[in-house]
């Protein structure tokens, strides 16, 4: 009888559900965007965007072309002339918009930023004022929309290499930021951010 019970116990033990991890799902959690997350590849990631824009912001603010003038220079920082020539698709606006927002806050009026992407919106409002549909607001009228002194350009490039023997893949990524005097074409400031990242997939994927 004991043997029978033992047999039954073994049989019943088969009914115990396999160890299911996190069977109830996983609640949404915040991840520090400045650090490398739990998953990733060898390309540009969120923490790189934060790191590079912070570095460029400090560099620009420390440059006398931008912060040492009696009259604050006017600047456009957008993705129009910031070229992605790398092997990774990326939304360039993530980089340029973060740089612009942080520079605008940190420069505290030492630099003025022109939103050329809002030109149509501005033109509509200007027309409404001039047609008398609206009043002139509180800051007065100007002859035209703001012209600029400098505009951001740049290029994202990457170089991939692979060791077929070990399966190790490596990507060197270089992001060039340049500020161009839009009157004479002089490049008055350049900043470079680069990193290399390597990793190897499990052998079953090579």
């Amino acid at each position: 009888m004991y043997r029978v019970c033992a047999f039954l116990a073994v049989l019943m033990s088969g009914c115990v559900s396999p160890q299911v991890q996190n069977s109830g799902g996983m609640a949404v959690r915040d991840i520090d965007p400045g650090i490398r997350g739990p998953v990733g590849g060898v390309g540009i990631e969120g923490q790189d965007i934060i790191s590079m824009t912070d570095q460029m912001m400090r560099d620009i603010l420390g440059n006398s072309f931008f912060s040492g003038n009696a009259v604050a220079p006017r600047v456009i920082i957008d993705g129009e002339f910031f070229v992605n020539d790398s092997g990774q698709a990326i939304n360039k606006n993530m980089i340029t918009e973060r740089l612009r927002a942080n520079l605008n806050r940190a420069s505290n009026g030492r630099m003025l930023f022109v939103g050329r992407n809002y030109a149509r919106m501005v033109e509509e409002e200007r027309s409404l004022k001039r047609e008398g549909v609206t009043d002139v607001g509180t800051t007065g009228l100007t002859r035209a929309q703001a012209g600029v002194d400098y505009r951001l350009g740049g290029r994202i490039t990457s170089l991939d290499s692979r060791d077929t023997r070990t399966g190790m893949i490596q990507r060197h990524t270089q992001i060039l930021f340049e500020m161009v005097d839009v009157e004479n074409g002089l490049i008055i400031w350049s900043g470079l951010y680069e990193f290399a990242r390597a990793g190897a997939d499990d052998v079953v994927y090579r």
Partner: protein, 447 residues
């Protein structure tokens, strides 16, 4: 009395055993049913022709996510659901780009007693390259030429991940498309550099095309390769062409340049060896060894037992028994060794990609892009050749460049039943994936 009690005990035991077995089945069954019902619910909110794809994607989870997302994205492109296709390929490429290191299921796939197909699907290099190709086409459609170039360059990079040096960088189409995207982005220097790479890879094909045509029509033709296995235990992965002979031609009065620019069967078959092939060979050798040893032992056991019967020697008989037991053990070991290669494949891929280059008319009108596809008769199946017209799924112009894309084959439905569910060691990731799917495809609607 005792006999009756014994019979009663046996009956109770039998009923308990049967109940416990049925209970096990019911528990597993209800788990599958709940998941399948959730998959059906999720799919119900999606566009009709794509629902089977959504259902399978949701139910199979991470195990087959890349394959299912590729199939979904491809079907969505063919049916004009472009935003949906973009999201599907983005999710697939994110996984293809991720480095799979210390993955528990990848580790299991190397075990002698677990099949290779237990791993998450990432696809062979030609399949990965094609996922980038389609995402690149979608970027072209949006007029985002820089990201389109990035995708075509990534496609070329993944295809060049072959073990054999002689077959690296032979996917000239990707370089040509990257060059075309560069010209459209007004980056002629980069365009020429990439064009040179296309010429170096497949000069005959790409010299026949203009350097930077203002109109490029890209057409997927035929059915791409399948995967199969060879070897005693199916341990060798092979690619089998499924070419149905479909060809593409411009209508009679057209004089545009039309060339077959890529052969996907060729790209699949020139991959060279895989690193995992050594592991599968090892598994096959182990299985072969265990089977041979089992056969030898059973023969020895029989001979020893016969000898024991003749001599009446108890020791010899015991030895024969032990040999039989060892033979059974080795036989079991051989039977649970699984060297079979993973044959999951992206079945909706084309056999070839054709390019047609033309110029936008001076009056700025959009040229009519249309082709005629022809399939030859198949003995015993299709008595006569079939012809049908092929029109682009999209044709858009951005600046001075116009691009069209279409396919000779329509959306292939996904009727895989029963759906395979692989929750083991993936429950956490599957929960995240399903949440991601519900968010990413919350409001899929026609564009």
């Amino acid at each position: 009395m005792y006999v009756a009690r014994d019979i009663l005990q046996r009956c109770v035991l039998a009923v308990a055993c049967a109940a416990s077995i049925l209970g096990c089945a019911a528990t597993g069954g209800s788990r599958n049913t709940v998941l399948e019902a959730a998959a059906v619910d999720f799919a119900a909110g999606q566009p009709e022709p794509l629902r089977p794809h959504f259902k399978v994607l949701y139910a199979e989870g991470e195990w087959n996510a890349v394959l299912n997302l590729n199939l979904l994205g491809h079907a969505a492109m063919k049916s004009g659901q472009f935003a949906l296709a973009e999201r599907a390929f983005d999710l697939a490429l994110y996984r293809i780009e991720s480095i799979y290191a210390d993955d528990p299921n990848a580790k299991r796939a190397k075990s002698k007693f677990v099949e290779e197909k237990v791993k998450d699907f990432k696809g062979e290099p030609y399949e990965r390259a094609m996922a980038y190709y389609y995402r690149g086409l979608l970027y072209l459609r949006e007029g985002d030429f820089q990201n389109a170039r990035a995708m075509f360059l990534s496609a070329e990079r993944h295809d060049s991940m072959s073990e054999s040096e002689e077959f690296q960088s032979d996917f000239g189409l990707m370089n040509y498309l990257a060059a075309w995207a560069s010209f459209c982005d007004n980056d002629a220097d980069r365009g020429r550099e990439l064009l040179d790479r296309a010429y170096a890879a497949q000069g005959t094909i790409f010299h026949a095309l203009p350097q930077a045509p203002s109109l490029l029509a890209i057409t997927d033709v035929g059915m791409g390769p399948a995967k199969s296995t060879q070897g005693k235990y199916g341990e060798q992965l092979v690619f089998v062409p499924r070419a149905d002979g479909t060809t593409l031609a411009a209508p009679d009065d057209e004089v545009a340049i039309l060339v077959p620019a890529a052969d996907i069967n060729f790209q699949a078959s020139t991959r060279g060896g895989r690193a995992i092939d050594f592991i599968l060979d090892g598994k096959a050798n182990f299985k072969q060894g265990a089977e041979t040893a089992s056969d030898v032992l059973i023969a020895a056991s029989l001979a020893t037992s016969m000898s024991a019967l003749n001599t009446g020697d108890r020791g010899t008989a015991e030895a024969g028994g032990y040999m039989a037991l060892a033979s059974i053990g080795l036989g079991l070991l051989a039977s649970v060794t699984t060297p079979a290669a993973d044959t999951r494949y992206w079945w909706s891929l084309p056999a070839e990609v054709y390019l047609m280059a033309d110029s936008i008319p001076e009056d700025g009108s959009s040229p009519v892009v249309a082709f005629v596809a022809t399939k030859p008769p198949i003995e015993g199946q299709v008595p006569r050749a079939q012809s049908w017209s092929v029109t682009p799924a999209f044709q858009v112009r951005h600046g001075g460049c116009e691009v069209a894309w279409g396919s000779t084959h329509r959306v292939s439905s996904d009727d895989r039943t029963p759906i395979t569910q692989h929750e083991k060691l993936r429950s956490e990731r599957n929960a995240l994936l399903r949440h991601e799917l519900e968010t990413a495809f919350l409001s899929s609607s026609p564009q």
